[in-house]
Amino acid sequence: MSVIKPLRSTLGRIVHRRSLPYTSLPLRPGDASFSDQFLYRGDLAGHRFVAENTLALLSGEAVPVTHRLSFFDVEGQFLGHQDTPSSRLFTAIDVADPGAELASYIHTSHYGPDILRAFCAAHPTAANLRRLHRGYALYRRSGRSVYAAVHGNVGGIRLAGWGAAGRTRHLARRRGWFLYTPQIRFAADQKVSLYLLNPCRQRERITVMQATPSGQALSRSELPVLSRLSVPGRGLRCCRLEGISGYVTLRSRLPMCRPLIFIEADGHPDHFDVFHT
């Protein structure tokens, strides 16, 4: 029974892999800590990341951990790490300048061998659970505003090794063509920034189109193209929209091409609306 269930699950994933955002194959032993992909913006008044300590959340006790943020520039090239030790359930990290005004990053957690040994002895059923770091990114528009929070989106990225200089393993996969239509109607007086992060190893081409130019159903070839982007693996691009009223749709080979969206409204310089779709 214990073999049949995972086998059926794996077979189902292989059969339906065309819709899976991540690999359909089981993970290898030792794959312990995967991360969503987050956005760093250096043009704001502040940026925090809230990192979760999964073993502490499982045990209900303080567990020493090192949180590592690993940064990549817009082309997907490794920039550096930021390490933060902590024992808390959640740690708010003020993100340091990684050396680029715009970057993506991942969060992985590392427990020392003695810590892991003690945890495995006390919590044998929880010891082999694979951690997914989804986290919360917080952006502060001005020194007088609160931080606008958004949780992790898509990723499935891990460091190839703790000592590795930015080598990563990617579980996200490109598949067939998808149309992703964020469920938000933009207004012409808004300044909208769509940040598109590519969690795959391969470059991805994304076409941003207007979904409702006249409120009529159209074929794709009739939809106005707002932008064509070529996003490197681990990298990112930004698409700015102004004067657009209605919905946009994104065509790509990513099963979940979910932009992170910032909306600025006139007359409110201390506030923006930040959300993932």
């Binding site: 959340l57 951690r131 958004v150 919905y247």
Partner: protein, 278 residues
């Protein structure tokens, strides 16, 4: 995953709205397709406290752009009240009363991932903050359940700001038994506050508002499921700014195949914690 959409009544002068689009959110597409549109309306239902049936409050149709907007101020929602938006086929009739909340229609056209969402927005002092949210049908079908959440989104706050935690429950089959939300310190297990709430309503908790925690907070409910939304607003004296986001459920802390086992282990720890009463 078919879903309901909550429209909560809040406090602190915060209004809410939801915008539901008739476009499919995500679809595997051939070469020539535009996003698919659906002929759907939104039926708004309310479960008055102490009343037996669900009451149909309104039924809204999409505008020319393809979306439907419902605002809390149009329905005089008080703090803790909740309207449930149910997508229904335009050909389907909505009964004025229903013992069971109607099943939501789906916009899915294939196996493309991502839950069916709407835009849930919150309004305060002329600004908006939103997230793309939903309340899954499979959660609303549970007659019982548990909820464990934490306070990472309190880090969005700054001195002088206030955070309103809004815990939303939707249950297709109502049960008038009062629910209890406990808030306690994670490390000391000191119980800080108990909030009484009900199914098909919201528990509201303002922070800090006299609560002086000495460490991280845990929110737990041992009798119902719920989705916590954290709404942080700046101080009344300075310029307006706001943050809105929901916390991840424990399943999201683990990779796909480990979600259930991980969530169960984490919940066992916190639901079984003995609390020190003040």
């Amino acid at each position: 995953m078919t879903c309901y959409y909550p429209l909560p009544g809040l406090s602190q002068g915060i209004g809410s709205s939801l915008t539901y689009s008739v476009f499919t959110l995500n679809e595997a597409t051939g070469a020539l397709r535009a996003p698919q549109r659906h002929r759907l309306d939104l039926a708004l239902y309310r479960r008055p406290e102490g009343a037996t049936p669900w009451l149909l409050v309104d039924r809204l149709s999409p505008d020319a752009c393809g979306d439907i907007v419902a605002r809390s101020e149009d329905y005089s929602l008080g703090p803790g009240d909740l309207l449930v938006a149910v997508p229904v086929s335009q050909e389907a009739r909505s009964e004025p009363q229903a013992a069971l909340l109607p099943l939501p229609a789906s916009k899915r056209v294939d196996r493309a991932p991502v839950a069916e969402r709407c835009s849930l927005a919150f309004h305060w002092r002329g600004i908006n903050s939103s997230y793309q949210g939903e309340f899954p049908l499979r959660m609303a079908e549970l007659s019982r359940g548990t909820m464990v959440s934490f306070d990472p989104l309190l880090h969005a706050s700054v001195p002088g700001a206030l955070t309103l935690v809004c815990l939303v429950n939707i249950s297709r089959r109502d049960d008038p038994t009062p629910l209890r939300l406990e808030v306690f310190e994670a490390h000391s297990r000191r119980l800080l506050r108990e909030v009484s709430w009900r199914r098909n309503g919201c528990a509201l908790l303002a922070l800090p508002d006299g609560l002086e925690p000495d460490g991280e907070l845990v929110f737990r409910s041992t009798d119902a499921v719920g989705i916590p939304i954290f709404i942080t607003i700046s101080g009344a004296d300075g310029p307006a700014s706001m943050s809105v986001e929901h916390t991840h459920p424990p399943t999201e802390l683990f990779w796909e195949q480990d979600r259930i086992a991980g969530s169960r282990a984490l919940k066992t720890t916190w639901l079984g914690a003995s609390l020190q009463c003040p």
